[in-house]
Protein backbone atom coordinates (compact mmCIF):
# COMPACT_ATOMS: atom_id res chain seq x y z
CA UNK A 1 0.00 0.00 0.00
CA UNK A 2 1.24 3.47 -0.77
CA UNK A 3 1.37 5.68 2.24
CA UNK A 4 0.58 9.34 1.76
CA UNK A 5 3.57 11.51 2.61
CA UNK A 6 1.68 13.28 5.34
CA UNK A 7 1.40 10.10 7.40
CA UNK A 8 5.15 9.87 7.53
CA UNK A 9 5.50 13.53 8.28
CA UNK A 10 6.06 13.88 12.01
CA UNK A 11 4.45 17.28 12.20
CA UNK A 12 1.24 16.33 10.37
CA UNK A 13 -1.55 15.48 12.82
CA UNK A 14 -2.49 11.83 13.26
CA UNK A 15 -6.16 12.69 13.59
CA UNK A 16 -7.78 15.90 12.49
CA UNK A 17 -11.45 16.86 12.72
CA UNK A 18 -12.51 20.15 11.21
CA UNK A 19 -15.94 21.71 11.56
CA UNK A 20 -17.56 18.32 12.01
CA UNK A 21 -21.36 18.33 12.21
CA UNK A 22 -23.27 15.16 12.99
CA UNK A 23 -27.02 14.59 13.14
CA UNK A 24 -29.12 11.64 14.21
CA UNK A 25 -32.25 12.47 12.26
CA UNK A 26 -33.18 15.93 13.51
CA UNK A 27 -30.96 15.62 16.59
CA UNK A 28 -27.76 17.66 16.38
CA UNK A 29 -25.21 15.33 17.99
CA UNK A 30 -21.92 17.05 17.13
CA UNK A 31 -21.69 20.79 16.74
CA UNK A 32 -18.72 22.26 14.91
CA UNK A 33 -16.21 19.87 16.44
CA UNK A 34 -12.58 20.72 15.80
CA UNK A 35 -9.88 18.46 17.13
CA UNK A 36 -6.28 17.91 16.19
CA UNK A 37 -4.35 15.02 17.65
CA UNK A 38 -0.63 14.83 17.03
CA UNK A 39 1.22 11.57 16.58
CA UNK A 40 1.80 10.01 19.99
CA UNK A 41 -0.58 12.35 21.75
CA UNK A 42 -3.00 11.03 24.38
CA UNK A 43 -6.37 12.66 24.71
CA UNK A 44 -8.91 12.00 27.41
CA UNK A 45 -12.46 12.88 26.45
CA UNK A 46 -15.04 13.39 29.17
CA UNK A 47 -18.43 14.92 29.64
CA UNK A 48 -21.93 14.12 30.83
CA UNK A 49 -23.98 11.26 29.41
CA UNK A 50 -25.36 12.11 25.98
CA UNK A 51 -22.81 14.85 25.33
CA UNK A 52 -21.56 13.10 22.19
CA UNK A 53 -18.31 11.50 23.32
CA UNK A 54 -19.04 8.13 21.75
CA UNK A 55 -20.39 9.80 18.67
CA UNK A 56 -17.20 11.80 18.29
CA UNK A 57 -14.85 8.86 18.38
CA UNK A 58 -17.18 6.67 16.31
CA UNK A 59 -17.02 9.28 13.55
CA UNK A 60 -13.24 8.94 13.44
CA UNK A 61 -13.45 5.34 12.17
CA UNK A 62 -16.70 5.92 10.32
CA UNK A 63 -18.95 3.80 12.49
CA UNK A 64 -21.03 6.97 12.15
CA UNK A 65 -21.03 9.14 9.07
CA UNK A 66 -20.98 12.91 9.37
CA UNK A 67 -23.13 15.54 7.72
CA UNK A 68 -20.37 18.02 7.03
CA UNK A 69 -16.82 18.84 7.97
CA UNK A 70 -13.59 16.97 7.43
CA UNK A 71 -11.93 14.07 9.18
CA UNK A 72 -8.39 13.06 8.30
CA UNK A 73 -6.66 10.07 9.88
CA UNK A 74 -2.98 9.31 9.27
CA UNK A 75 -3.17 11.32 6.08
CA UNK A 76 -6.30 9.58 4.80
CA UNK A 77 -9.21 11.92 4.23
CA UNK A 78 -12.39 10.14 5.33
CA UNK A 79 -15.38 10.05 3.03
CA UNK A 80 -18.28 7.69 2.47
CA UNK A 81 -16.28 5.76 -0.13
CA UNK A 82 -15.42 2.24 0.97
CA UNK A 83 -11.80 2.79 -0.03
CA UNK A 84 -11.36 5.77 2.26
CA UNK A 85 -13.16 3.98 5.09
CA UNK A 86 -10.94 0.91 4.64
CA UNK A 87 -7.79 3.02 4.68
CA UNK A 88 -8.81 4.74 7.90
CA UNK A 89 -10.01 1.61 9.71
CA UNK A 90 -6.75 -0.11 8.90
CA UNK A 91 -4.91 2.57 10.88
CA UNK A 92 -7.28 2.94 13.82
CA UNK A 93 -8.05 0.40 16.51
CA UNK A 94 -11.11 0.62 18.72
CA UNK A 95 -11.94 -0.74 22.15
CA UNK A 96 -15.55 -0.80 23.29
CA UNK A 97 -17.24 -0.61 26.65
CA UNK A 98 -18.81 -4.05 26.15
CA UNK A 99 -15.54 -5.67 24.88
CA UNK A 100 -17.36 -7.12 21.86
CA UNK A 101 -15.14 -10.17 21.60
CA UNK A 102 -16.46 -12.77 19.16
CA UNK A 103 -17.92 -15.48 21.44
CA UNK A 104 -17.55 -18.33 18.94
CA UNK A 105 -13.85 -17.76 18.45
CA UNK A 106 -11.00 -18.45 20.85
CA UNK A 107 -8.90 -15.60 22.16
CA UNK A 108 -6.24 -16.26 19.55
CA UNK A 109 -8.81 -16.62 16.76
CA UNK A 110 -10.27 -13.28 17.79
CA UNK A 111 -6.82 -11.80 17.34
CA UNK A 112 -5.91 -13.31 13.97
CA UNK A 113 -9.18 -12.84 12.07
CA UNK A 114 -8.70 -9.28 10.90
CA UNK A 115 -4.93 -9.44 10.36
CA UNK A 116 -5.48 -12.41 8.00
CA UNK A 117 -8.52 -10.97 6.22
CA UNK A 118 -7.66 -7.30 6.14
CA UNK A 119 -3.87 -7.18 6.19
CA UNK A 120 -3.42 -10.42 4.28
CA UNK A 121 -1.11 -12.08 6.79
CA UNK A 122 -0.64 -15.83 6.67
CA UNK A 123 -2.06 -17.81 9.58
CA UNK A 124 1.44 -18.34 10.98
CA UNK A 125 2.29 -14.66 10.79
CA UNK A 126 -1.03 -13.65 12.28
CA UNK A 127 -0.66 -16.14 15.13
CA UNK A 128 2.83 -14.88 15.88
CA UNK A 129 1.51 -11.31 15.99
CA UNK A 130 -1.45 -12.43 18.06
CA UNK A 131 0.70 -14.17 20.65
CA UNK A 132 3.03 -11.18 20.81
CA UNK A 133 0.22 -8.79 21.71
CA UNK A 134 -1.49 -11.25 24.04
CA UNK A 135 1.84 -11.43 25.90
CA UNK A 136 1.96 -7.65 25.88
CA UNK A 137 -1.39 -7.43 27.66
CA UNK A 138 -0.22 -10.27 29.94
CA UNK A 139 -2.77 -12.80 28.86
CA UNK A 140 -0.70 -15.06 26.61
CA UNK A 141 -1.60 -18.15 28.63
CA UNK A 142 -5.32 -17.78 27.79
CA UNK A 143 -4.94 -17.91 24.00
CA UNK A 144 -6.91 -21.13 23.58
CA UNK A 145 -9.85 -20.12 25.78
CA UNK A 146 -13.16 -18.71 24.64
CA UNK A 147 -14.20 -15.19 25.69
CA UNK A 148 -16.95 -16.54 27.97
CA UNK A 149 -14.29 -18.34 29.98
CA UNK A 150 -12.51 -15.09 30.88
CA UNK A 151 -13.23 -12.40 33.44
CA UNK A 152 -14.34 -8.98 32.25
CA UNK A 153 -10.91 -7.49 32.79
CA UNK A 154 -9.27 -10.30 30.86
CA UNK A 155 -11.79 -9.92 28.04
CA UNK A 156 -11.09 -6.23 27.76
CA UNK A 157 -7.36 -6.86 27.64
CA UNK A 158 -7.93 -9.37 24.86
CA UNK A 159 -9.99 -6.74 23.05
CA UNK A 160 -7.05 -4.36 23.34
CA UNK A 161 -4.68 -7.02 22.03
CA UNK A 162 -7.06 -7.80 19.18
CA UNK A 163 -7.02 -4.17 18.10
CA UNK A 164 -3.23 -3.97 18.45
CA UNK A 165 -2.81 -7.00 16.18
CA UNK A 166 -3.77 -4.74 13.28
CA UNK A 167 -0.75 -2.61 14.27
CA UNK A 168 -2.81 0.57 14.20
CA UNK A 169 -1.33 4.06 14.30
CA UNK A 170 -3.98 5.24 16.73
CA UNK A 171 -6.37 3.71 19.27
CA UNK A 172 -9.84 4.81 20.28
CA UNK A 173 -11.26 3.76 23.65
CA UNK A 174 -14.94 4.18 24.46
CA UNK A 175 -15.33 3.87 28.23
CA UNK A 176 -13.20 0.71 28.33
CA UNK A 177 -13.55 0.25 32.09
CA UNK A 178 -17.14 1.26 32.81
CA UNK A 179 -18.58 -2.22 32.28
CA UNK A 180 -16.01 -3.77 34.62
CA UNK A 181 -16.26 -4.77 38.24
CA UNK A 182 -14.20 -2.32 40.30
CA UNK A 183 -11.47 -4.84 41.06
CA UNK A 184 -10.76 -5.31 37.36
CA UNK A 185 -10.54 -1.66 36.39
CA UNK A 186 -6.91 -1.39 37.35
CA UNK A 187 -5.60 -4.22 35.18
CA UNK A 188 -7.18 -2.62 32.11
CA UNK A 189 -5.99 0.87 32.98
CA UNK A 190 -2.48 -0.49 33.57
CA UNK A 191 -2.55 -2.02 30.11
CA UNK A 192 -3.61 1.32 28.65
CA UNK A 193 -0.83 3.11 30.52
CA UNK A 194 1.63 0.61 29.07
CA UNK A 195 0.32 1.35 25.62
CA UNK A 196 0.60 5.07 26.23
CA UNK A 197 4.22 4.66 27.33
CA UNK A 198 4.94 2.87 24.04
CA UNK A 199 3.97 6.06 22.25
CA UNK A 200 0.56 5.04 20.89
CA UNK A 201 -1.70 7.86 19.78
CA UNK A 202 -4.83 7.50 21.91
CA UNK A 203 -8.23 9.05 22.36
CA UNK A 204 -9.89 7.71 25.48
CA UNK A 205 -13.44 8.38 26.53
CA UNK A 206 -13.22 7.74 30.25
CA UNK A 207 -14.17 9.14 33.59
CA UNK A 208 -11.09 7.64 35.23
CA UNK A 209 -9.53 10.89 36.27
CA UNK A 210 -6.49 9.19 37.78
CA UNK A 211 -5.74 7.77 34.37
CA UNK A 212 -6.27 11.18 32.80
CA UNK A 213 -3.79 12.78 35.22
CA UNK A 214 -1.26 10.02 34.63
CA UNK A 215 -1.18 9.79 30.84
CA UNK A 216 -3.24 12.49 29.13
CA UNK A 217 -1.53 15.25 27.24
CA UNK A 218 -4.87 17.01 27.01
CA UNK A 219 -8.25 16.56 28.62
CA UNK A 220 -11.26 17.57 26.56
CA UNK A 221 -14.64 18.30 28.07
CA UNK A 222 -17.77 17.98 25.93
CA UNK A 223 -21.34 19.04 26.59
CA UNK A 224 -24.38 19.01 24.29
CA UNK A 225 -22.39 17.87 21.27
CA UNK A 226 -19.74 20.55 21.47
CA UNK A 227 -16.23 20.75 22.85
CA UNK A 228 -16.52 23.15 25.76
CA UNK A 229 -13.03 23.15 27.14
CA UNK A 230 -9.65 21.55 26.67
CA UNK A 231 -6.47 21.84 28.63
CA UNK A 232 -3.53 19.93 30.01
CA UNK A 233 -4.70 17.69 32.87
CA UNK A 234 -3.01 19.72 35.58
CA UNK A 235 -4.78 22.97 34.59
CA UNK A 236 -7.97 21.18 33.64
CA UNK A 237 -8.48 19.72 37.09
CA UNK A 238 -7.01 22.63 39.07
CA UNK A 239 -8.70 25.49 37.27
CA UNK A 240 -11.55 24.47 34.99
CA UNK A 241 -12.62 27.56 33.07
CA UNK A 242 -16.29 26.81 32.49
CA UNK A 243 -19.10 26.45 34.96
CA UNK A 244 -20.28 23.25 33.24
CA UNK A 245 -16.85 21.72 33.56
CA UNK A 246 -16.74 22.60 37.23
CA UNK A 247 -20.18 21.13 37.81
CA UNK A 248 -19.22 17.96 35.96
CA UNK A 249 -15.94 17.55 37.81
CA UNK A 250 -17.71 18.18 41.09
CA UNK A 251 -20.08 15.37 40.29
CA UNK A 252 -17.63 12.71 39.18
CA UNK A 253 -15.04 13.47 41.84
CA UNK A 254 -17.50 13.23 44.74
CA UNK A 255 -19.63 10.22 44.18
Amino acid sequence: MTEPNSARNATAPMIEMRHVEKFYGPFHALKDVNLTVAKGEKIVLCGPSGSGKSTLIRCINHLESIKSGEITVAGHRLSDSQKAVDAVRREVGMVFQQFNLFPHKTVLENCILAPMRVRGLSRAEAEATGRKYLERVRIGDQAAKYPAQLSGGQQQRVAIARALCMEPMAMLFDEPTSALDPEMVKEVLDTMVLLARDGMTMICVTHEMGFARQVADRVIFMADGAIVEENDPESFFRAPAHARTRAFLGEILHH
Binding site: F96, P103, H104, V118, R119, A148, A159
Partner: protein, 220 residues
Protein backbone atom coordinates in the same frame (compact mmCIF):
# COMPACT_ATOMS: atom_id res chain seq x y z
CA UNK B 1 -61.79 -58.79 12.98
CA UNK B 2 -58.39 -60.25 13.80
CA UNK B 3 -55.18 -58.35 13.39
CA UNK B 4 -52.60 -59.71 11.04
CA UNK B 5 -49.24 -57.99 11.16
CA UNK B 6 -47.60 -60.55 8.89
CA UNK B 7 -48.52 -58.31 5.95
CA UNK B 8 -46.24 -55.61 7.32
CA UNK B 9 -43.50 -57.83 8.69
CA UNK B 10 -43.42 -59.59 5.35
CA UNK B 11 -42.89 -56.28 3.61
CA UNK B 12 -40.09 -55.11 5.90
CA UNK B 13 -37.68 -54.58 3.03
CA UNK B 14 -40.05 -52.20 1.24
CA UNK B 15 -40.72 -50.41 4.52
CA UNK B 16 -37.01 -50.05 5.16
CA UNK B 17 -36.47 -48.63 1.69
CA UNK B 18 -39.40 -46.29 2.25
CA UNK B 19 -37.85 -45.14 5.51
CA UNK B 20 -34.57 -44.47 3.74
CA UNK B 21 -36.51 -42.55 1.08
CA UNK B 22 -38.21 -40.48 3.76
CA UNK B 23 -34.92 -39.71 5.49
CA UNK B 24 -33.38 -38.79 2.15
CA UNK B 25 -36.22 -36.39 1.36
CA UNK B 26 -36.08 -34.93 4.85
CA UNK B 27 -32.36 -34.27 5.02
CA UNK B 28 -32.10 -33.04 1.43
CA UNK B 29 -35.06 -30.76 2.13
CA UNK B 30 -33.41 -29.45 5.30
CA UNK B 31 -30.16 -28.74 3.46
CA UNK B 32 -32.00 -26.82 0.77
CA UNK B 33 -34.14 -25.02 3.34
CA UNK B 34 -30.99 -24.00 5.18
CA UNK B 35 -29.42 -22.61 2.01
CA UNK B 36 -32.60 -20.73 1.11
CA UNK B 37 -32.90 -19.49 4.70
CA UNK B 38 -29.40 -18.03 4.83
CA UNK B 39 -29.57 -16.63 1.30
CA UNK B 40 -32.93 -15.03 2.04
CA UNK B 41 -31.52 -13.31 5.12
CA UNK B 42 -28.47 -12.16 3.16
CA UNK B 43 -30.76 -10.62 0.55
CA UNK B 44 -32.94 -8.95 3.18
CA UNK B 45 -29.84 -7.52 4.85
CA UNK B 46 -28.81 -5.76 1.65
CA UNK B 47 -31.85 -3.58 2.26
CA UNK B 48 -32.57 -3.12 -1.42
CA UNK B 49 -36.20 -2.41 -2.10
CA UNK B 50 -37.06 -4.88 -4.86
CA UNK B 51 -35.09 -7.91 -3.64
CA UNK B 52 -36.47 -7.46 -0.12
CA UNK B 53 -39.97 -7.17 -1.51
CA UNK B 54 -39.54 -10.40 -3.46
CA UNK B 55 -38.18 -12.29 -0.46
CA UNK B 56 -40.98 -11.05 1.78
CA UNK B 57 -43.58 -11.94 -0.86
CA UNK B 58 -42.03 -15.39 -1.13
CA UNK B 59 -42.28 -15.87 2.64
CA UNK B 60 -45.92 -14.72 2.74
CA UNK B 61 -46.98 -16.90 -0.18
CA UNK B 62 -45.35 -20.02 1.23
CA UNK B 63 -46.59 -19.48 4.76
CA UNK B 64 -50.16 -18.79 3.71
CA UNK B 65 -50.79 -21.64 1.31
CA UNK B 66 -51.04 -25.39 1.95
CA UNK B 67 -48.00 -27.54 1.30
CA UNK B 68 -50.10 -29.97 -0.71
CA UNK B 69 -51.01 -27.19 -3.12
CA UNK B 70 -47.41 -25.98 -3.25
CA UNK B 71 -46.06 -29.39 -4.19
CA UNK B 72 -48.71 -29.89 -6.87
CA UNK B 73 -48.00 -26.42 -8.16
CA UNK B 74 -44.29 -27.20 -8.55
CA UNK B 75 -45.05 -30.63 -9.97
CA UNK B 76 -47.18 -29.17 -12.75
CA UNK B 77 -45.59 -25.74 -13.14
CA UNK B 78 -41.98 -26.81 -13.55
CA UNK B 79 -42.61 -28.87 -16.71
CA UNK B 80 -44.45 -25.87 -18.17
CA UNK B 81 -41.29 -23.86 -17.56
CA UNK B 82 -39.34 -26.57 -19.39
CA UNK B 83 -37.82 -28.03 -16.21
CA UNK B 84 -38.25 -31.78 -15.93
CA UNK B 85 -37.52 -33.22 -12.50
CA UNK B 86 -38.45 -36.64 -11.24
CA UNK B 87 -40.98 -36.75 -8.36
CA UNK B 88 -38.28 -37.17 -5.71
CA UNK B 89 -36.35 -34.09 -6.84
CA UNK B 90 -39.60 -32.14 -7.11
CA UNK B 91 -40.43 -33.22 -3.58
CA UNK B 92 -37.03 -32.09 -2.28
CA UNK B 93 -37.50 -28.78 -4.03
CA UNK B 94 -40.96 -28.33 -2.52
CA UNK B 95 -39.76 -29.27 0.97
CA UNK B 96 -36.75 -26.99 0.66
CA UNK B 97 -38.79 -24.06 -0.61
CA UNK B 98 -41.41 -24.51 2.09
CA UNK B 99 -38.90 -25.03 4.89
CA UNK B 100 -36.73 -22.25 3.48
CA UNK B 101 -39.46 -19.65 3.85
CA UNK B 102 -39.84 -20.51 7.52
CA UNK B 103 -36.06 -20.72 7.92
CA UNK B 104 -35.64 -17.16 6.60
CA UNK B 105 -38.01 -15.89 9.27
CA UNK B 106 -36.29 -17.88 12.00
CA UNK B 107 -32.74 -17.02 10.97
CA UNK B 108 -33.64 -13.34 10.57
CA UNK B 109 -34.70 -13.38 14.20
CA UNK B 110 -31.39 -14.95 15.15
CA UNK B 111 -29.39 -12.34 13.26
CA UNK B 112 -31.32 -9.59 15.02
CA UNK B 113 -30.51 -11.15 18.37
CA UNK B 114 -26.76 -10.74 17.82
CA UNK B 115 -25.67 -7.53 19.59
CA UNK B 116 -24.84 -4.62 17.29
CA UNK B 117 -21.49 -4.32 19.03
CA UNK B 118 -20.37 -7.53 17.31
CA UNK B 119 -20.86 -5.96 13.90
CA UNK B 120 -19.24 -2.73 15.00
CA UNK B 121 -16.20 -4.56 16.35
CA UNK B 122 -15.83 -6.36 13.03
CA UNK B 123 -16.19 -3.18 11.01
CA UNK B 124 -13.77 -1.31 13.28
CA UNK B 125 -11.21 -4.06 12.60
CA UNK B 126 -11.53 -3.29 8.90
CA UNK B 127 -13.69 -6.24 7.86
CA UNK B 128 -16.32 -5.61 5.21
CA UNK B 129 -20.04 -5.97 5.81
CA UNK B 130 -20.34 -9.36 4.14
CA UNK B 131 -17.32 -10.71 6.00
CA UNK B 132 -18.79 -9.49 9.26
CA UNK B 133 -22.02 -11.35 8.51
CA UNK B 134 -20.39 -14.57 7.42
CA UNK B 135 -17.56 -14.75 9.96
CA UNK B 136 -18.93 -12.98 13.00
CA UNK B 137 -22.73 -12.75 13.02
CA UNK B 138 -23.91 -15.95 11.35
CA UNK B 139 -22.74 -18.58 13.80
CA UNK B 140 -23.99 -16.94 17.00
CA UNK B 141 -27.21 -16.12 15.14
CA UNK B 142 -27.74 -19.76 14.17
CA UNK B 143 -26.90 -20.87 17.67
CA UNK B 144 -29.53 -18.57 19.11
CA UNK B 145 -32.31 -19.98 16.96
CA UNK B 146 -31.10 -23.55 16.60
CA UNK B 147 -33.87 -25.00 18.80
CA UNK B 148 -36.60 -23.30 16.71
CA UNK B 149 -34.89 -24.31 13.51
CA UNK B 150 -34.73 -27.91 14.74
CA UNK B 151 -38.48 -27.98 15.48
CA UNK B 152 -39.12 -26.57 12.02
CA UNK B 153 -36.98 -29.32 10.54
CA UNK B 154 -38.84 -32.02 12.46
CA UNK B 155 -42.01 -30.60 10.98
CA UNK B 156 -40.37 -30.76 7.56
CA UNK B 157 -39.50 -34.41 8.19
CA UNK B 158 -43.16 -35.22 8.90
CA UNK B 159 -44.27 -33.17 5.90
CA UNK B 160 -42.41 -35.60 3.63
CA UNK B 161 -45.50 -37.83 3.94
CA UNK B 162 -47.41 -35.40 1.75
CA UNK B 163 -44.87 -36.00 -1.02
CA UNK B 164 -46.67 -39.27 -1.62
CA UNK B 165 -49.20 -37.15 -3.53
CA UNK B 166 -46.78 -36.78 -6.43
CA UNK B 167 -45.56 -40.35 -5.91
CA UNK B 168 -42.17 -39.47 -4.57
CA UNK B 169 -40.53 -42.51 -3.09
CA UNK B 170 -40.98 -42.44 0.67
CA UNK B 171 -42.52 -44.31 3.56
CA UNK B 172 -46.17 -43.30 3.19
CA UNK B 173 -46.30 -44.26 -0.49
CA UNK B 174 -44.85 -47.65 0.40
CA UNK B 175 -47.50 -48.03 3.10
CA UNK B 176 -50.26 -47.08 0.72
CA UNK B 177 -49.08 -49.69 -1.74
CA UNK B 178 -49.06 -52.42 0.90
CA UNK B 179 -52.51 -51.32 2.01
CA UNK B 180 -53.85 -51.44 -1.55
CA UNK B 181 -52.49 -54.95 -1.99
CA UNK B 182 -53.61 -56.36 1.37
CA UNK B 183 -56.52 -54.18 2.58
CA UNK B 184 -54.91 -54.30 6.04
CA UNK B 185 -55.35 -50.55 6.67
CA UNK B 186 -55.04 -50.57 10.45
CA UNK B 187 -51.92 -52.74 10.56
CA UNK B 188 -50.23 -50.63 7.89
CA UNK B 189 -50.97 -47.25 9.44
CA UNK B 190 -50.26 -48.46 12.93
CA UNK B 191 -46.84 -49.52 11.72
CA UNK B 192 -46.26 -46.27 9.81
CA UNK B 193 -47.14 -44.30 12.91
CA UNK B 194 -44.51 -46.20 14.85
CA UNK B 195 -41.89 -45.77 12.18
CA UNK B 196 -42.55 -42.02 11.84
CA UNK B 197 -42.27 -41.66 15.58
CA UNK B 198 -38.88 -43.34 15.53
CA UNK B 199 -37.78 -41.24 12.55
CA UNK B 200 -38.77 -38.06 14.39
CA UNK B 201 -37.01 -39.03 17.57
CA UNK B 202 -33.86 -40.08 15.75
CA UNK B 203 -33.88 -36.89 13.68
CA UNK B 204 -34.34 -34.82 16.81
CA UNK B 205 -31.45 -36.58 18.45
CA UNK B 206 -29.30 -36.17 15.33
CA UNK B 207 -30.06 -32.46 15.03
CA UNK B 208 -29.23 -31.99 18.69
CA UNK B 209 -25.93 -33.80 18.18
CA UNK B 210 -25.12 -31.65 15.15
CA UNK B 211 -25.99 -28.56 17.18
CA UNK B 212 -23.76 -29.59 20.05
CA UNK B 213 -20.85 -30.10 17.67
CA UNK B 214 -21.39 -26.97 15.62
CA UNK B 215 -22.02 -24.66 18.56
CA UNK B 216 -19.69 -26.10 21.14
CA UNK B 217 -18.26 -22.76 22.28
CA UNK B 218 -19.21 -21.71 25.80
CA UNK B 219 -21.90 -19.07 26.20
CA UNK B 220 -21.64 -16.17 28.59
Amino acid sequence: MTLDFSVVTGAWQSLLLGTVGTLFLAFSGMALAMIIGVLGVVILRMQLRLPSLLVNAFIEIVRNTPFLVQIFFLFFALPLAGIRLNPTLTAILALGVNGGAYAIEIIRGGVESVPKGQTEAGLALGLHKHEVFRLIVLKPALRAIYPSLSSQFILLTLTTAICTSISAYELTSVGQRIEAETFRSFEVYFTLTGIYLVISLVTMWLLAAIGRRAFSYPQR
